[in-house]
């Protein structure tokens, strides 16, 4: 098997587009949230300025090796997730480094950043970071269950572990999307999606009004900037997975932009409508509402 070296600059180009799209989309969603609260909210380019400022901070302190590696792991999780799934279906340029079993790898990468963060924030030694990590891991694990079940259901349904083939099977009209062929799996996965987007009602982990402010309490300057970079890439990468598995993928950048925006908007919409759950409430909620849906979706197939 030969490796096409041209794939690397293409993948970097995808990364660049997604990074900028992520920065703008995050600010745009923040603006929508602010409008729901009758504010004007941050300017649309605010994320760029925050990034420049944090990279430009003059001093920083460290708490040890894992403290360095935490944000690096987190960014690796986001970038890795993006690089190993096809962003634009059918495009030679933007299929990235996807391969036959990439669905399993993607599931792993979704969790990877959180684990890295746990180690990094744990080493910072701040009690708020420790509490935040405990809550975060508990909640993300609970949210991961229905997602994993839904992904297995989809893999069983299409008899493949390749994201590209799953997208291919959904082509040819809206009714071929998993959303209509296996609605239970999509419902379970979308509930899990809420839990992993760090928006209300599931944002107790790093909400500034709770224990200030959870895992990143000790992170600052360039460390924080790395994590902000990841916060632009990771949600988009995750949404790309959802788009590919459940909503027919995207065949062009405009279609990509619309679908990603709508999926992101779903979590923002729920976020402005519902108040925040405590951790034990959210875990119970996932186990009662989302996990049975996931089990049913597997039985359905």
């Amino acid at each position: 098997m030969t490796f096409d070296w041209m794939k690397i600059p293409y993948a970097l180009l995808t990364l660049f587009i997604v990074f900028n799209f992520g920065l703008l989309l995050t600010a745009f969603i923040a603006k929508i949230g602010a409008r729901a609260g009758r504010r004007h909210g941050i300017p649309i380019w605010q994320n760029y300025i925050d990034l420049i400022k944090n990279y430009g901070q003059r001093s920083s302190i460290t708490h040890g090796v894992m403290f360095y590696l935490g944000p690096v792991f987190r960014l690796t999780g986001g970038v890795g997730l993006l690089l190993f799934v096809p962003t634009i279906y059918g495009s030679e340029m933007f299929s990235n480094l996807s391969f036959a079993g990439d669905l399993i790898l993607a599931l792993y990468f979704v969790f990877f950043g959180t684990l890295g963060m746990a180690l990094g924030a744990g080493e910072s030694g701040h009690p708020h970071a420790a509490i935040g990590i405990t809550r975060g891991l508990a909640q993300v694990t609970a949210a991961e269950l229905p997602l994993a079940l839904a992904v297995f259901a989809v893999a069983l349904q299409y008899q493949t572990l390749s994201v590209t083939e799953i997208v291919a099977a959904q082509q040819g009209g809206m009714m071929n999307w998993t959303m209509f062929t296996n609605p239970l799996a999509v419902a379970a996965a979308m509930l899990a999606f809420l839990g992993s987007m760090m928006r209300p009602p599931f944002d107790v982990v790093l909400a500034p009004q709770e224990i200030p402010i959870g895992p990143p309490t000790e992170y600052h300057s360039a460390y924080l900037a790395l994590m902000q970079t990841n916060r632009a890439i990771f949600p988009i990468a995750k949404i790309v997975i959802y788009m590919n598995l459940f909503f027919g993928g995207a065949t062009s950048w405009p279609e990509f932009a619309v679908k990603v925006f709508l999926i992101y908007l779903f979590s923002a919409f729920v976020g402005v409508c519902f108040p925040r759950f405590r951790v034990e409430q959210s875990i119970r909620w996932f186990l009662i509402w989302a996990v049975p849906l996931g089990v049913l979706s597997i039985l359905w197939v």
Partner: protein
């Protein structure tokens, strides 16, 4: 010195005895360093512009003036429009707003919060109390001149200044930052001994290291 801060021997749950020295173990003792602008002027100008457009305030109210900061987060005044946000941890904050009178007890906490912030960092004194003591001019336990204890970049006068005054003050602070004149952190590091002498003159139960990080 409080008892829990003294050096002592602790027995762990596995029976191993080890020595704990809170002042050494919990804090870093390295003195503050001066971080001069090192990049080319054009890069430094870009950074200064970014710093001015992205001011993160430490959400730490030290006095009654903190009540004037809350409306800035709400729809009426909405400071987020101007790139001003609140961070709950000093590590990520750039601006410490001393909101009104500062009692000696709170000064200690304000110093610790300030020292944990990263260079460059700014201090804004809010209200008359930070300038000359204001209505607390003859109080036995409030400080009169904030500038003696922390390097202040800007004062916003009034008792109390309205949220509009705060917004105007922040706009002035932005001009200072853009002009490269807001170098309070370096000033603090350069005149560290002077600031410490002043701080220790009023804080009598000094139970922390000279520099907190």
């Amino acid at each position: 010195m409080k008892e829990e801060l003294l050096k002592r021997v602790v027995k762990g749950p596995d029976g191993v005895e080890f020595e704990v020295e809170p002042l050494r173990d919990y804090y870093c003792e390295a003195p503050p360093a001066v971080h001069p602008p090192v990049y080319a002027k054009i890069v430094e100008d870009l950074f200064n512009w970014a710093r001015s457009q992205s001011i993160w305030i430490l959400g730490f109210g030290t006095g009654c003036g903190a009540i004037e900061m809350r409306p800035l987060m709400t729809p009426r005044f909405d400071a987020y429009r101007y790139g001003i946000q609140w961070r709950p941890t000093p590590r990520q904050a750039n601006l410490l707003v001393i909101s009104g009178y500062l009692s000696v007890k709170t000064l200690k906490r304000a110093i610790r919060a300030y020292e944990q912030m990263q260079n460059p960092k700014y201090v804004v004194g809010l209200g008359s109390c930070t300038i000359n003591g204001g209505m607390y001019w003859d109080s036995y336990n409030t400080i009169k001149r904030l500038d003696d204890y922390l390097p202040v970049d800007l004062y916003i006068t009034g008792c109390m200044p309205r949220p509009e005054a705060l917004l105007a003050g922040f706009e002035d602070l932005k001009k200072l930052i853009r002009a490269g004149k807001a170098e309070g952190a370096n000033q603090y590091a350069e005149n560290f001994d002077w600031y410490k002498t002043n701080q220790k003159r009023v804080i009598h139960d000094w139970d922390m290291p000279d520099y907190n990080w």
